[in-house]
Symmetry: D2
Subunit: 355 residues, 4 copies
């Protein structure tokens, strides 16, 4: 019997191995850093997801990601009648699969509790099963002992905060006091938590946009309004597992979803100026000068509140050059709010176009 199956096996393996293309996602680097496109919140059949772990790798490659973490629930295992509990299973299955495909794989898991404290991803763990303990604090401690990064997931999830607004409870303050809380989701699946930005700035947390996907990425985010899957942009010193970890603990991230960027101004501002270049005037007449602004990223930028006399709004379409016709009477710098770069709960980035 075994011998008869050999030929069959060879064929199937080869076919699967044939797959392997990583789409280029246009996200410029920052000076001194490479911009890694990441998703740190993914589920598989080993908790309540619907796909085999290797699917998450294939999806990440196709979507042009550099790094992912598979973070199956420790406590919620609805498929356990058919799949025996093994909190490290997804890691075992994908570790070499990812390495051979040049994808950085972060060993993660999700500590899944009621609010407070809610759900928390532990990233960069060694053995997820050590975190499967009754007391949530013991679980956090076990994670920290393994050197983990703790990420507060969907802090305003309506199932746990019916008004959708994140709140910090005693346990969150205790985590912060201990230096144990490192990140917070600004975007999760199709949800958005503006208040998370306030917490991130007050407590120096890295901001994230993660998919938290249970089904299939390409189907979950197929609606044109989404445009792309949620991604956490990480500014790392190199494209390595170690440099990624250093960058996350240092908080060098931006959250990216639905053509929105969220994060601290210190990263958002240079990122915008790496994306957008103002060309020299190519023409002028009596009244106006004409120049192009080139956006070299996948993100359209929506400029508004222009200075008087300038165009009130400008849309810098992704991967495009936009023509600006400017009255020669304008002498003030060409300043705009970037409507879709959020640098605070209610703040957007202010930029200048120097032509």
């Amino acid at each position: 019997m075994k011998k008869k199956l050999m030929f069959l096996l060879v064929i199937i393996t080869v076919t699967i191995a044939g797959f392997g293309q990583r789409k280029t996602v246009n996200m410029p680097d920052l000076p001194g850093y490479v911009t890694l496109k990441c998703d740190f919140h993914l589920h598989t059949v080993f908790s309540d997801g619907n796909v085999w772990p290797t699917v998450r790798i294939d999806e990440a490659l196709r979507d042009g990601l550099d790094a992912i973490a598979i973070t199956d629930h420790l406590e919620y295992l609805p498929k356990k009648d058919f799949i025996p509990v093994d909190h490290n299973a997804a890691w075992k299955i994908t570790e070499s699969y990812a390495r051979e495909r040049n994808l950085i794989l972060v060993h993660g898991t999700e500590i899944t509790r009621s609010m407070p404290p809610g759900h928390m991803n532990a990233l960069f763990v060694q053995d997820a099963s050590m975190l499967a303990v009754d007391s949530v604090w013991d679980a956090y401690e076990a994670a920290i002992k393994q050197g983990a990064f703790l990420l507060w997931n969907h802090p305003g999830w309506k199932s746990q905060q019916p008004d959708g607004i994140p709140r910090m409870y005693d346990i969150h303050y205790k985590l912060i006091k201990n230096g144990w809380l490192h990140g917070i989701e600004f975007y999760n699946d199709s949800d958005h938590y503006p208040r998370a930005m306030t917490f991130a700035k007050e407590h120096n947390l890295a901001v994230f946009a993660n998919s938290d996907v249970h089904s299939v990425i390409s189907e979950r985010f197929a609606a044109p309004a989404f445009n792309h899957r949620p991604m956490t942009l990480v500014f790392a010193k190199a494209r390595t597992h170690e440099a990624l970890k250093e960058a996350l603990f240092a908080g060098r991230t931006l959250a990216y979803f639905r053509d929105m960027i969220g994060g601290k101004e210190e990263y958002a501002k240079p990122f915008f100026y790496q994306c957008v270049k103002v060309g020299k005037p190519y023409y002028q007449n009596d009244k106006s000068i004409f120049f192009e602004v080139t956006n070299n990223s996948n993100i359209p930028f929506y400029l508004e509140n222009g200075v008087p006399g300038a165009p009130a709004t400008i849309t810098l379409a992704a991967n495009s050059s936009t023509r600006i016709v400017l009255s020669k009477k304008i002498t003030t710098p060409l300043a705009y709010d970037v409507k879709n770069i959020l640098t605070g709960e209610k703040e957007v980035l202010r930029v200048e176009l120097k032509y």
Copy 2:
């Protein structure tokens, strides 16, 4: 702990249950029969597929199917280190899930052997585990005892027939002599086996087009050239499990893939005339008469070898009316070959447009 998880569980269940829309696929019924859109060859994590069984139900609903069979391999179980062997697992997981969603679910499995005899689906089994025996003949016998329909899968699969051309071996003749072989795949995944039509006609087998999908349907058949997933059209007396079974054993099927229809003329011909209606002339001038031909199906029809004087070729786009301008000099019936309706290994359907 359990109590704390309760609220969480409720939310997740409700969200998943919210899904439930079946796209209308325009495939007219035949007089006396309803046309069921089906896929009888699907894999899940319970053999070498990459998705949980309920995904196959959700995909089928979204694609507008009426019936599917999940047919995990009996002999090829590469995930068994993580998922214990249970040949009926997919059935147990999906039986009520499908019923509540008005999808006809056929209990199936794939008997997976080298060629000869190759791979064979057993459909309408009671307990797939009874077929997991060493001797392939014993497996067939166990299937037949359960009332199964035996379907010869991808008979010219290049891994088993390097030239891609199906061949009948002794065991196939023996199956046919016993009345144990009932169907054959004309299309499987992206492959096409014209010779299968010859076998189907000689031995009175039902023809099939099945996806044999291991990954995600929407991704596997995303290429514009595919246009849709493979489907077996079954002409049943009613939209029920029993009527479906009766129709399959009676051989009332057409295979449908890549905008091609394959099958016996006795079904292909009336199917074409149900799809295509010729309108009355709406205008004429000295030289020509003008009328519209309406195609009420999702299948474009490519007509060629028109009679002299008529348009040499006509494309009847799917779900569209096509204008025909015909010379008044033409007196012969307006006959065409339908290039994409295959009624034999090298034959296409000849039709007449009566205006």
Copy 3:
């Protein structure tokens, strides 16, 4: 020279004539009427549009329309340095072209004035040049003498009403008093005028959704959010020019754009019930009954404000069947607001699903 060009000419003519397919747009008929899909506001190079008139015919066929009117401006002719003024040119060029393609062509023109009275289409004219007179009232009178239908275009166009809200001036009341104003645009291009519905109901005007396109239809309405071009649905006794005219003067229309329907309840209500059919329950358990609601139209319907105990909201996707799982405790009729069927400035249609 001429002879040499002959062969060339023949080829080009034949190639263009080969085009001719009308997409089926699923819009059910009302009892006693056929539903004609129409666009009564289109521009070409003969005023300020950018395409040759035959392009409007080809676009209409491809989009599955039954009737159009080309309505070039009488007063605004920015291309007149290159194209001599001929207010009937588009009509002359397309009349036989449309007839040979089974498209109903309405002879129209746009009387283009400042507000008040704003822009007005005259439909069903005999000679548009008779309307090119100084006094706007004389222009209206000339139109009425030809038997024209007068349609008030974009009554709240921001270039003429900066707040976007339609207002009736003396001249509009005078037109109504004379029985000379017959219709009003509820949708124009991407604009929407809710107040137009109030005027339509008070003064018994037919409501319209027209594209007012100047560029290319497929490009202008390419954004996924539009989903389709604006259409005026006309409920006519037959698919003829005469029946169309009778239906318009009788006010039997609905406006359709961006998956919204706007119009009087007497047409909106039966139209909804022709689109949506409730199936018999296909399954039940202790707690719930299961049935499907089938939407046979291209328009998704968004139901909300369900009765207590029923699903609060239901989306009936276009050309799909939607599963409803209903608690057996519900005894009241299953009533919903249809969020995207507007029967007044602030009213939506209330419907019942009888299962």
Copy 4:
């Protein structure tokens, strides 16, 4: 009356002027040259096209082109009953419109004759009306006197060469002898003339891919199989009208259509190596080394006829990195044919991947 229209006019002008974004088309520069994306064969309502000339500018911007020529027929003017003959009309209408939008506009026209000599574009003319003369040779001479570049259009057009194969007649040899023939279309609309490459190499002509569009670009090339409009890639010393002209007369072009590149090896080879970069190995095991090949262009490259032991075929998807798993046993250079870079009538480019 005039005053009343003023406000209206202002609005319409502003709206049209708002448009102005140029999509980035990823086509790397060659060392010392910028790669200009061009289309030198376009029609408008001023001959047998269906759009106003400014539409060709807007289309070019949206498609990311750097330069175009509008080339209306001199001899074939089917719209002359409505539009008076003016062979320079399109140029007058678009000259400043293009300049203000940073698009290089080439003044062109099409000398439209039976075969021989067939159709010929004159590019870089000063006054097209001087070419509207009876004798074709006189027309050529008038063009050359204006400094024109003569381009042989669709040399195997089936309306003029029923077998589709280009042939050189006496007049073509005479043109070449005089140094008056400078270029030839390798692709025209959806047609492809392999033999044109032979002529191009023998007689040192620049190769072109032009759309020859009469209708709307986005509709004509909407089919997924086309993927993009035809483009002539020109390697110019700068992005200016003068540099473009110099490059064309120097023959520095490649033809690009349907994901195929056609042209002389001296441009095709460095272009490939600018598009494709081989990364350093990122992983290796006992048997294999793993590296990525990054394709920074919009063109997928199909590699085949790999050396023994290497993958037989590799697809380098556009704007993607492709993983290569290579046996350590391979010691020969990694050479491939690039199936879709045509350097001769029957030759493809041979390349080496140096890892």
